[in-house]
Symmetry: D3
Subunit: 137 residues, 6 copies
């Protein structure tokens, strides 16, 4: 074996969202979420980490062209220049960075296999990021 | 004199927007703007540059506490966690990075004076920025 | 359950420090620490990671307003624009990045609980960072 | 004990490389690697993480002067302004980011000891990085 | 008029190069250029600035889709994953950052017009950049 | 001529400082400068821009090895790991970013010549920078 490594690739998408719990009144939402109830948006960054043995011939854990194609097809094309609140994945779920991370995990684990997908990191801006590794699902 | 310098300070705000020319049909808008017609958002960065003599006693071109207070009050509190298309400044004007820059210039020149305000730089993301220096207004 | 995630938020503070072991002579200090014995300073960055279940209603591991308030109150207001060597936490302890990290851990574990606090990462500059997770305390 | 921490330092080197499997035909290489078969290059960043107890007197996991000297001597002077394909470490091995990471691990584990060396992270650019922790070697 | 602004967009390409003056001996080249004579490479960043009036209807100085298409077609596809020394533009010219900048200017001025093209900035890495504005050509 | 370009190189130094006007009382200083009166510090970044014709043979505006040697010798070795208030250049002058920029200009113009030195940019942190171009001296 040539070793087991963790390969990560960074993606970007720009999306709008607002925080709102349908079961709460407007007053409750504004008290809890403040300005987050107003539609605003972010340049999200997404780091996808795949874990596995390094192929002795190609020197790769995963073909990056394949990884880019999977993430762009399943995530970036869906969330880039989109309103997250309008996506069925966030029907009844507040589009927090945590929920974006678990949603991305779900979309990618179906394609990559949960044993290859190691971690999804979502940056909402350069001061806030959430890591999800499939725990507690 | 202790010299004339350019002092710049960086601010951030997260906002939603979409591109849409009211005078155009939906088809025309989609042909010209593509996915930009869908509500999405960005983490904007704003760099405000003030030019002037360095005060021989304080060593400052402008008191940064004063500058922060002016920019936060006039710009950041207005645009942060906001939908730019809902702001009267963008009524009938597409909220492009160019138009955000000239809007910020207008808000700040009124407070700082156009002779002190040297440049407004607006970053929509880390690949796109617009500079405006009051030319052609 | 909606999953267990790791939410991280980044903070900043600017502080002065110097390296000096009281039990050593000046010559020994200069031999071991070199220029680090001279008072200098850094723009520190601090990343605080909280681990826990995502609240099914709010979609959050921790309310970020609460986290910001705790970290600002316990750490940033204490260390920002301060001389670390003058802080009682560094009496008899060299304010290395390692010791800053464990000091921050102590301040935050008392507020957040050691079972929620997952990791403290302290960047001295963009080439040096230390992670502390409560091990060996 | 003062705690067990993870100290990381970032290094940089600029190198050229191309992807080519000697056992494959030119057509096969071009089909699999595309433009990566053409000599090109990168500004690599390297993050070396050392894990260990914090020395109660010096407040350090490892003396950074010592760490810098080891990494510069064993890695940076070898790979900076070099053609990776010409290095004996990559004879018969494609210089992918994965293989650069395991090669760096090998060079550093010999000097630092595998029980102190915790992780090697290699960034090929700011969208791609690989972590290696000595697994599966 | 809605104002005259400067719109800048950032691009990236990874290329190999070496410094070598054909008219000099190997000894002279090594004395002057040192390790730069060995093939190595960089992740270049390119910032292209276009100056002009903001279109009152679209709010743009230049359509970014058009700008991206021009720069990708004329520059990025040519220099990305390429060996600069093999490009006819650098026959008899050392591929310094300065010469890369003037070469990019030449390629883009032909497409954008020298009166719209305001500046080309080329970053060789994050510590070195060159600006060219068509002066002295 | 091969064109006239602007070559910039980025340097770093870590220094301590505090703001204090000797002619003011402690109360006046604290009212005006607030927490800036307490010794603290920063990771400064310095960008030095040289303007000139590109040498047709070497392809350079200035030999970077020469530029690095001049700036390291005149500025970085002086200010790195230093207390700016203890430097004779800041005797009776508050070590603001503005005054650091003009001080650096003075140190470098003596070595590079004011006709080659185009601009000095000093970043105190990643939200504040000052440009000085020799105006009003």
């Amino acid at each position: 074996v040539s070793g087991i490594a963790y390969s990560s690739r960074r993606f970007a998408f720009a999306a709008a969202h607002r925080y709102w719990v349908d079961a709460w009144s407007a007053v409750e939402n504004e008290q809890f979420f403040g300005r987050l109830t107003v539609p605003h948006g972010h340049n999200y960054a997404l780091e996808v980490t795949v874990r596995g043995p390094i192929d002795p011939q190609t020197g790769m854990v995963i073909n990056l062209t394949e990884l880019k194609s999977i993430v762009n097809g399943a995530v970036v094309e869906r969330f880039d220049h989109a309103d997250l609140n309008a996506d069925p994945l966030f029907r009844g779920r507040v589009p927090t960075t945590e929920n974006v991370a678990t949603a991305v995990w779900g979309l990618l684990a179906a394609k990559l296999g949960p044993e290859r997908l190691w971690q999804v990191r979502v940056w909402e801006d350069d001061t806030l990021y959430v890591d999800y590794r499939g725990e507690g699902a």
